[in-house]
C-alpha cells in the first residue's frame, strides 16, 4: 500500500496539484493497480531484451535542408500570455529578498 508521503512525492515529480481527497483516492487506486501489476514479477525474464519499439531498430536520417517552420503568429495565438512576440511566464526564481 502506498503511503500519503509517496503519493505526494509522485505528484510533485509529475507537477500535479492534488486536493486531499484526490491524494487519498489515488493512494488507494494506485495501490490496487500496482498490486495487480505485481504479477509481472513472477515471470522469469532473464536474458529477455526489453522492447521499447516493435519496429526494427534503425537510425532515421533525412537530408538537412532548410525549410520554413510554422508561422510565429500561428504559434503564439494559443499562448496564455504573450509579450514582445514571446511567451510570458511567472517568475522562475523566487523573488523574495
Amino acid at each position: 500500500m502506498l503511503t500519503l508521503a509517496e503519493v505526494e512525492h509522485i505528484a510533485n515529480l509529475a507537477r500535479l496539484e492534488l486536493t486531499p481527497e484526490e491524494k487519498e483516492r489515488y493512494r488507494q487506486q494506485l495501490s490496487a493497480i500496482l498490486e495487480y501489476a505485481a504479477r509481472l514479477q513472477a515471470l522469469d525474464t532473464g536474458g529477455i531484451p526489453p522492447t521499447s519499439s516493435v519496429l526494427p531498430a534503425r537510425s532515421v536520417l533525412r537530408p538537412d535542408e532548410p525549410a520554413p517552420g510554422l508561422d510565429r503568429p500561428d504559434l503564439l495565438r494559443n499562448a496564455p500570455q504573450v509579450e514582445a512576440e514571446q511567451f510570458r511566464v511567472p517568475p522562475v526564481l523566487d523573488q523574495s529578498p
Partner: protein, 493 residues
Amino acid sequence: MSALTDLSVHASLDLLRAGQVTSRELTQAALERISALEPRLHAFLTLTPELALRQADAADLRWRAWQHDPAGDPPPLLGVPIAVKDVLALKDVRCTCGSKILDNFVPPYTATAVERLLAAGAVIVGKTNCDEYAMGSSTENSAYGPTFNPWDTNRVPGGSSGGSAAAVAGRYVPAALGTDTGGSVRQPASFCGVTGLKPTYGRVSRYGLVAYGSSLDSVGAFARSAADLAPFFTIMAGYDTRDATSMNLPVPKIDLDGAPDLDGMRIGVPQEYFIKGIQPEVEAAVRQAIVTLQSLGAQVRPVSLPHTEYALPVYYLLAPAEASANLARYDGVRFGLRQPAENMIGMFKASRGAGFGPEVKRRIMLGTYALSAGYYDAYYGQAQKVRTLIKRDFEQAFEIVDAIAAPVAPTTAFRIGEHTDDPLAMYLEDVFTLPANLAGVPGLAFPVGFDRRSLPIGMQLMGPHFREEILFRLAHAYQQATGWHLRQPDLSI
C-alpha cells in the same frame, strides 16, 4: 431511394460520379441528421458546418469538371463526408482531446492522416468526442460528457474513439477517423456494431496526432463495412518524413473484387482469448463467425499466445509511463489552460491540477511512479521485457497461421457509470485488445452477431506486421456471406 445518410462510401461515390447527388446534398443531410440526433448521442465536440459546406462545394465543382471531361481519376473520396476524432489536428479548428486543459487550443497545422484524406477529397463535418487524451474505454472520461451508444443510449459506445464509432453507427457519416493505443478503435467498433481498423504500428503517420503512448499509438478508422474502410486505410497509410516511426514500405492495394474465396487462408484461434468471465453470447457468436470463415474455405487451427494474461499489467505500466512524459508539455506556458501562481513551478502544478481530469491524473501518477527512482527496474523495465514475450507469442503464431480470430471485448456495451468507480474493472475491458498494440500488429474489428439485448458483438482479426490486406480480405468475405454489418440501430427521428 434510402436516406442519403444511409449510403455507404462506395454508394455515395457512385452517385457523385453519376451526377445523381452532390456533395453539398450529402453534407447537408449529414449536418441535419447530426443536429436532430446529437441531443441523444453527443458524438461531437466541435462541428464544422461552414468548412464542410465549403469543401463540399469545391468537391462538386471538381465532379462537374470531371463529368464534362472525364480525363484521369478524380480524388478517391471526393465529396464524401467524414468525422475526425478530436485528438487529430486540423489546422484552425479547435482540438480539445476531450480535455479542459485544451478547451481553446487551435492547432497551427494539420495531421498527416487528415491532410491525406483532405487531399483525397473527403469533407470534414466535425471533431468527435473521446476519452480525455484517448485514455479510457467508454468515452466517459471526456471532460465534455460521455457519448451514448446508438444501440442503447443508456450504454457506453466504448472508447476512447466512442464519438467516431457512434457517428458511423448512428449514420451521421459513412466513415470516421479514430486512434487505437490499447483498443480505442476496435472496442468501440465492437460496442457500436461497425467495422474498425487499427493498422500496424508505423503504417500511418502519427504527425499531428496528440501523443498519448508513443510506442503504441496508431491512427485508424471506422466505416460500416470492410469494403468502405479499405480506401481510408490505403489513403492514410505510407511513409511520412515528419514521423520518425513511420515505415517506408509500399502500401498494399486492397482488391476486394471477385467472389469471396478463402482457400488456403489459415486462421488461428487462441485459447487464451476464450476465458472464464467472457459473456457466453460473445463467445458463441465469435465461434460461429470462425465456422463461417471455415465454410468460405479458410483452415482453422488452435494457436497459443501464452503471455496474453500479462498484456493488461504491461500496458497499464508502459502506456501511463509514456503518457507521463508526453503530457509534461501541458504546463500552461505555450498553450492550454494557465492558472495564475506566484512562480513558474506553482503555475505548472496549478494549471495541470485544474486542467486534467481524474483518469489522466491517475495515469500520469501511475506512469511517474513506474519510471521513478527505485521502481524503474521492477515496473517499467520488467514490463518492457514482458512486452518482448508478448510480441514473440505473435511472431510464433504467425509462423503457422495468416491471421488470428478472437473476441474484441469480453462483453457487449456496458451501462453508463457501470465501471466509473473502479478503474481496474474498467481496464479489464481492454484485456483482448491490448496485446495487438504491445506487439504492434494490425487488428480489424467487425460485428458478428447480437446479444439478447440487441447489442452488437464484435470479432477481431489480427495479422502479421504490415499485412492489413489479409484482414480486409477475410472480413470482406465474411461480410459478403453475412448481414450483421448491415443492421442498424433504431434512431427514428
